[in-house]
Symmetry: C2
Subunit: 251 residues, 2 copies
DNA sequence: CGTAGGCTTGAAAAGCGTCAATAGGAGTGG
DNA sequence: CCACTCCTATTGACGCTTTTCAAGCCTACG
């Protein structure tokens, strides 16, 4: 565990927040000046545990983590995946008791920011507060799409949908090519993300493959044959990700 | 359509926002001073339509509305239900293009607030901005619970869970008794909320009834026999609703 | 080079959906 | 006030998607 603070650790967060709200240089400086601890995390290690008090907000610096909930009977629903640059749960800044867990999927580094500091920043620099609100709204939009995915689409469509989402998000994070990437999770984790079983996810992947929508040179690698076809099979429309600046910056 | 503005129309919003952030009287006054239009809505009328530009934020004054998404093939997933006092989509203040619809379930009144006004308020009165952020975080928490409900619980548990949620939320909104209430939606709408079909929802209601967990004097009325048993059957833990002030006010 | 976790595949079972027919209830118009 | 109608609820029979169980294989990593 590395407890030293790094001056530029929060650069990715500043970049992300500046994306949709026009922040002044003082705003950006205030973000970078947030006191934080950089921590090296192992695979499977917990960042936040359900029912525990959340004392820190977290920013992913490298690696993947998942946000999940447990249900009675031992089932697990994965609610989101976080990659480099993502603010994991600014929510934890505000809702004290965590109602979900955050767990590393791979090794990686995270930056921990004390809860109060985030709240002070939101109040002292309203534009930064607005930007963080914006980030939460985008998260909520993703939850809604996943809810529709799991609630109202059949298995094949669900899997195609999440493959499309990964493709776009990984590309934005600089972790994937234009049409190919390495799956950030196992088939069992895909199953927990889509409300299916690992066995059935496997069958759906093969179905998509045999229809030529995707190609897989190894078990984790995905190459998209024809984006348009896969998007159609997955009933995928990227609006909910709010990736582009078509929506003009606020303020 | 009633286009007159009412000075105290936003009282419920002010109350809600003041619940978790300590707002000064100037903050409360600023909320009440928001320019708004009170509009009478008919059953089934749309407040926001998917893919259209959202120009206003909405506060429910009376009646119920639902937030939903359509999927390919005509299916619909209900993402949330809103009742008196709820801010429907402060998100619409920020994400310009609506990625979902909001539709009245019953007749009722809503207050429409221009988008820019909400943003200005958030910036000029940071504490109000923080309170609105808080509200969005609670919404996101509910989406996560619904996602877990639909993704990883069986049909009977899902139905019991939503019955528990209704019980608490209706009581808080002053629309239900301690142990009984009128269902705010039809069985088909319950089905669209839980990722099931109307037929199966009906069977699960009867199953809960025959086990004595609920009683139904008419089709819409629900009386909870033993709260503890129903909550167990529904794997229900109210933490995600963030109703209580156990979590101390911020700032 | 060995082992454990992840992947793949098949067969059978179950839960939930679909189809269809009937009954109930609230609102409407005569 | 009654008849009509549409929407909602209820129930049964049947079928299909997905799960469950089980076995074998592959591959990354120690």
């Amino acid at each position: 565990m590395d407890h030293s603070a790094h001056a530029l650790a929060l650069e990715p967060l500043a970049l992300k927040l500046a994306k949709h709200v026009d922040l002044g240089s003082a705003d950006r400086a205030a973000i970078l000046a947030l006191p934080c601890i950089v921590k090296r995390m192992e695979r499977h290690q917990y960042i936040v545990r359900e029912r525990e008090l959340a004392t820190h907000s977290v920013v992913m610096l490298s690696g993947y983590s998942i946000l999940s909930k447990l249900v009675a009977g031992g089932g697990r629903q994965i609610l989101a995946i976080h990659m480099a640059g993502d603010a994991v749960d600014l929510q934890n800044s505000i809702l004290k008791v965590a109602d979900h867990s955050v767990q590393m999927l791979t090794r990686g580094e995270v930056a921990l920011i004390p809860r109060e500091e985030v709240i002070h920043l939101a109040i002292n620099r309203p534009k930064v507060g607005l930007a963080m609100w914006w980030d939460t709204l985008v998260d909520a939009s993703k939850f809604r799409e996943w809810l529709a995915n799991v609630g109202r689409r059949d298995a094949r469509t669900r899997v195609a949908h999440i493959l499309c989402e990964f493709s776009l998000c990984l590309k934005v994070a600089g972790l994937g090519g234009d049409n190919d990437y390495e799956l950030p999770m196992t088939q069992e984790q895909l199953a927990d993300s889509t409300g299916l079983t690992a066995v059935h996810v496997n069958r759906m992947l093969k179905s998509l493959q045999s229809d030529g929508l995707i190609h897989r040179s190894s078990t984790r690698s995905v190459r998209i044959g024809d984006w348009r076809n896969l998007a159609e099979a997955g009933d995928f429309d990227s609006t909910y990700l709010h990736l582009n600046r078509d929506e003009p910056a606020l303020v």
